[in-house]
Each structure stands twice: as structure tokens, then as C-alpha cells.
Symmetry: C2
Subunit: 344 residues, 2 copies
DNA sequence: CCACAAGATGGTATCGCTAACAGCTCACTC
DNA sequence: GAGTGAGCTGTTAGCGATACCATCTTGTGG
């Protein structure tokens, strides 16, 4: 490989080899080179070997722009996403990446500064202009529904973690089931009802968890307290936790994610309420460090890797022309640790 | 926008408009349309308006593959990265995304299953074949140095968080300074020396923190205990913490990241050693929830957003042909909370 | 009122690749 | 031994944009 140093004249810089160069060196036509790369079985083994030798010799890489121009397919998938520092989105993205890599797709990312209809459309447009073969929208927010209403024709799109009303296939963790499971776990420990610290309204996951919690309570005819609304941060959990700690009625809390749960735990402890002796707490996500919270957090594990894989699958189907209105739900799993105990 | 339904024949699907269509509708040549899009000031305002109207009418998007083919520039930057669920890499990626979006670049991601020389080269190759304009390698690992040794000529590459010996420009947080600061903070509280829980060997950040810690101790002539090696997880911090808790000599611990610090805190507490009364603990990263650890964690904040921005800048320079061997260091900041106190 | 420059627009070639078809070689059949 | 077809390779024609240069306006000074 040749390094270009500042002093070197442009003429000396070897221009990257193109297919024609390979063809010449191998003594064949460009078409044959193309075939060796795309349908090797159609070329006689000896010819193929000569071509491959030439490819290596010249360190040839096909120019994907040229290929895209003629085939219309790029081998790149677009992902539209919001804050990738949040645990959920980051993990989902990671799952998608892995699935894509295994199938030799590359991922292009359009990350949004704000989560709303307009930016989602814009993100999709930017990806589309890059000729991505398909788009996965990771936007677990109400606005996604609108942003996904008028899609460019012919562009396969799937969503991750979207609501029921999306016009596109969806892969998601079953938030309702997870929340219900967490709630039933607390009820089964003898608590008469369960308080809820929710995520921000308009987030699909947040409302799904509220719904699951509510229906589990209603199914057993329990009183349903007003949910307390946080913003996913430990800080908001802490502030809400302080309020909960003041109310002696509160013996069981289902918190919509682990980081807020961490804030709640801290507030309870500061108020002198012991967990789980006085109050039981369940989180959601199972972040890797949840087992090292104080006390170790009972929580609901989401398999983000699986969700990413399912989304990728769905997109592949769509790209292949399969038009099923699929909704792939991934089951979450309750992980019982030490932050939950029997009613005092 | 037209939706294509299953029943529709291919003939009915409107093919996306191309430049020629716009030209025709506006009554100009394709060349003029191209100019309106790329150098509007060279076109008379009335003509420009006509063209833009036609663009809107046909919902025209330039085909980037065609443009790349002729210009050689794609408006896409490649990012090679490893585990994007870790807080550091995820935040760096986020910083790069933001910087890129502000300058209308799109990001393509090649994530690696394993961090070694071979995969790094492969990642760069895959991106290169997509005609990215430049590559940012987020691979704070020794192997990056080798992977970045033989780069394809003419492809601008910069690294984030690399070691001193990289052949490319680097943007990074000054790990050495951060670790030294944390260590001096502990010494200033009267501790006779400071133990260290490090990250995995071969990680640049890990060795930088070890070096900073060691040099701060040596500068004051203190005894330098053998560092204890973790793997960034809370679990490893917990296991190491149990060992530290047994040694009554240990009164101050500098832990190489916040998640391991969380494990250490837990182990100390379980062993009956109070923080900060008996043992002081400092972390590294300042993850958003660090203020809600028990006790709130004193730690070293890394400004990942700034690192991403610097890396992007550096890459832009390289792409413009500026060949300075720059190393942009971002200063970390010590955030003192309640996990550190005077020597017992 | 003409020469001339500056500004606006158009024509043509080209980027690197592959689809579609054409042509050649050779083995095998009847 | 010519016909047949299978298997391999080559030729041609774009894909959709921009670079480069030519051409046609328009404005300006003498």
C-alpha cells in the first residue's frame, strides 16, 4: 500500500485501480471481471483465478457508487434514531448493527436532534437520497406515527418499538406484558396496590408500561394510583422518590426504567425507608449494572439484541417484497433480585 | 406522495423523477438544474425559481450515487467502532453524529465484533468501498495502532482516543491528566496512597489512567500498589472491591470507570466499610446517574461531545488537505461529590 | 452604435459498473 | 460430420449526475 507524503506530486499518486485495469492485467474483458465478483460460478475456474490474482495484485475495490447507479441497490441500510446515549436506543442500535454486519449490510445513521414528525421525515429523506435499500426507524415516540404516515413509495421501512397504529411493520419488546408481569410480581408479594413512576408521555414504551401496569391492577380489582411522570433520568426518579417516600401508604413501586429506579432507591433510603423491608421497587431494562444497585434491583429485562435482529429480518422481508403486516413482539423477562419483598 | 399497494402493477409505480424530468418541466437544460442545486448564484433568480418550483412539483431528489460517481465525494463519513453499548463509545459516537449532522454529513457505521488489527482494517475497507469521504476510528485499543498502520492512500482517517504512536491525528480526552487529578484529590484529603482498579489491559484509556495515577503517586513519593485489573463492568468492580475491602490499609481507591466504581461501592458496603468515612472512592466518566450512586460518586467527567466535535474537525482538515500531525486533547474535569472524604 | 467583457445557459463527454444480448467454442448426438 | 445446445466471454448501451467548454445574452464604455 502506498502512502502519499506531502511532497509528492499528484501525478505520482496512483489512482485507484478500476475494473478495466483488472481486466487488462488478467487478459479478459471488464464484463468477466464483473462476473467473477458477482457470479463466480459463471466463470471458468482458471479464468476466475487469473482475475482474482489481478484483483489482489492491484488491490482493486469495486466502486460502489457506480454499482448503485446501475443496480439501484446499495447494501446500505438506514437507521433513524434519537438519543443514542440512552440505554434502550443504544442497545437497539447495537442489535441492528450486529444483525446487519452478519448479512454484510452497512448501516447509515441519521440521528435526530428532536423527536418529531418533521425531523423523522427529514431523516428518512436524507437516507433515501443516499440510496439506502431500506430504513429502520428507532423512534419509540408518538410522533413517529405521523412521521411514518407519508412514506416515499418504494422505500421499505420498518419501525422498532412503535405503537399499534403504525403504517409499517414493527419489532418491539412487549412493554405491556413486561409491565404487567412486574406489577403482578409485586401484588403476589402481598402489596395491596402498586405505584408507578412512568417515562415521559408520548413515548410509546412509557405509555405501554403504564397500560400494562394499569391493566394488571385492574384485573385484580386494585386501586390504581395516579402515575408519577419522570423523564427517564435518575434525577427525575430521585425527585419523584422523595414524594413517594413521604406517603406511608406506598409499599410497592414499579418504575419505568432502571435509572429512574436508582433515583427512587436513593430517595427512599435517604427518607429512612428500607428497601425491600418497607418498600419494594421494580425497574425496567435490566441495565448491566442493575445487579449492583443497592439493593440489587428486581427488574424487567428487554432483549434488545433480539429486537434488532427481528427488525432487520422484517426489513429484509419488506425489501424482498413480502408485504405482511407483521408485528414481531419480543417477550421481556422478569429478573427477581433483592429490591422486592413481602408486604410489611 | 403516492403509496404503492400490493395490487398495483409495476408500470403504475411512478419512477422517481430525475434531473432531466425537472429540466423539461422547467423548460431548461439538465445542466441548469444541476447549477441551481449546487451553485444557485450562477443562475438568474427567475430561472432558479422556475427550477425550484419544478423540483418541488416532482418531489425530486438528486441521486447521490450518480453524483458520487462523477465528483468522487459522497457527503458520508465512516465511523469504525467497537461495542456501542459501553457508555464511552456510545457517547463519542453521539458527539460525532451531532457534529456531522450540523455540517450535513451522514454517518456510516462499521461496528466490529472484535477489537483487533484485522477487523479494524476490514472495517475501514468496507467503508472505503462505500466511497466515504473520510473515516473516524473509535477504537481506544492498542490494536488500533496496528490496524491504522497501512492505510489506503488518499483516504483521510482520524482516530478518537488513540495512543501516542498512531500514524493519524487523534482527538481524545487527556486520560493521564484526569487520572492524576483524581489521584491528587485523594492525596490532598490525607490518604497516604491510592489503590487503583484499572480497565482491561490493551485499552488505551485504561493504560492512560494507570499512567496518570502512577505518576501522581510518584510525584509525591508515595508507595504505588499493584493495580487491580477489571473489565469495565460493575461485576468486575464488585469482585475486586471484595478483595480491597479485606485490606484495612486501603483507604482510597481510584476506579477506572463509574460502573466498576459502583461494584466497588457495593462490595465495600457489604464488608461493612463505610464510604467515605472508612474508604474514599473516585470513578471516571461521570455517567448521568453517578450523582445518584450511594453515596453520590466523586468522578472525572469526560466531555465526549467535545471529543466528537474535535475529531470531526480534525477529519474535515484532513479532507481539505491540511496535513498537520495534530493531537487534540480535551481536558477532563474532576467532579467532587460525596464518595470522597478525609483519611480516617 | 459597435466592440468586448461578463454573465447565463446549453451540449457533450465521462465517471465505473452491470443488464441484456450476441458470439464463439467445444462436446456430444444421431 | 453437421446440427445442437450448453457454457463461457465479449460488445454495447445505459444508470444520473457534473466538468468543461462553447454559445448566446446582456450591459457598458468609447
Amino acid at each position: 500500500m502506498t502512502k502519499v507524503r506531502p511532497g509528492q506530486s499528484p501525478a505520482e499518486r496512483p489512482k485507484a485501480a478500476v475494473m478495466e485495469d483488472v481486466a487488462e492485467l488478467a487478459g479478459v474483458s471488464a464484463m468477466t471481471v464483473s462476473r467473477v465478483l458477482n457470479a463466480p460460478e459463471k466463470v471458468r475456474p482458471e479464468t476466475r483465478a487469473r482475475v482474482l490474482a489481478a484483483v489482489r495484485e492491484l488491490d482493486y475495490r469495486p466502486n460502489s457508487a457506480a454499482r448503485v447507479l446501475v443496480t439501484g441497490r446499495s447494501g446500505v441500510l438506514g437507521v433513524v434514531c434519537f438519543d443514542t446515549t440512552l440505554y434502550g436506543p443504544a442497545s437497539t442500535l447495537f442489535g441492528i448493527e450486529q444483525a446487519a454486519r452478519n448479512s454484510d449490510y452497512l448501516i447509515s445513521i441519521a440521528s435526530l436532534p428532536t423527536l418529531n414528525r418533521d425531523w423523522i421525515s427529514r431523516g428518512i429523506d436524507r437516507l433515501r437520497s443516499q440510496s439506502v435499500d431500506g430504513v429502520i426507524v428507532v423512534a419509540p415516540h408518538e410522533s413517529a406515527a405521523e412521521g411514518l404516515r407519508d412514506l416515499p413509495a418504494g422505500l421499505p421501512v420498518v419501525a422498532v418499538g412503535g405503537g399499534e397504529d403504525l403504517a409499517v411493520p414493527v419489532a418491539a419488546v412487549d412493554q405491556h406484558a413486561g409491565a404487567a408481569r412486574a406489577t403482578r410480581h409485586l401484588l403476589s408479594l402481598g402489596h395491596s396496590t402498586v405505584w408507578h413512576v412512568s417515562g415521559p408521555p408520548n413515548w410509546i414504551d412509557a405509555s405501554g408500561r403504564v397500560a400494562g401496569w394499569r391493566s394488571a391492577l385492574e384485573a385484580e380489582g386494585r386501586q390504581v394510583p395516579e402515575p408519577l411522570v419522570g423523564d427517564w433520568t435518575a434525577h427525575s426518579g430521585y425527585e419523584i422518590g422523595k414524594r413517594l417516600a413521604r406517603d406511608p401508604e406506598v409499599t410497592a413501586v414499579f418504575v419505568a426504567n432502571d435509572h429512574m429506579a436508582m433515583g427512587v432507591l436513593r430517595a427512599l433510603r435517604e427518607a429512612g425507608r428500607r428497601v425491600p423491608e418497607d418498600v419494594s421497587v421494580v425497574g425496567f431494562d435490566d441495565v448491566p449494572e442493575a445487579a449492583y444497585f443497592w439493593p440489587p434491583l428486581t427488574t424487567v429485562r428487554q432483549n434488545f439484541g433480539e429486537v434488532g435482529r427481528q427488525a432487520f429480518r422484517l426489513l429484509l422481508d419488506r425489501m424482498a417484497g413480502v408485504e405482511d403486516e407483521a408485528r414481531r413482539m419480543v417477550e421481556p423477562e422478569l429478573v427477581v433480585r433483592e429490591s422486592t419483598g413481602v408486604r410489611p
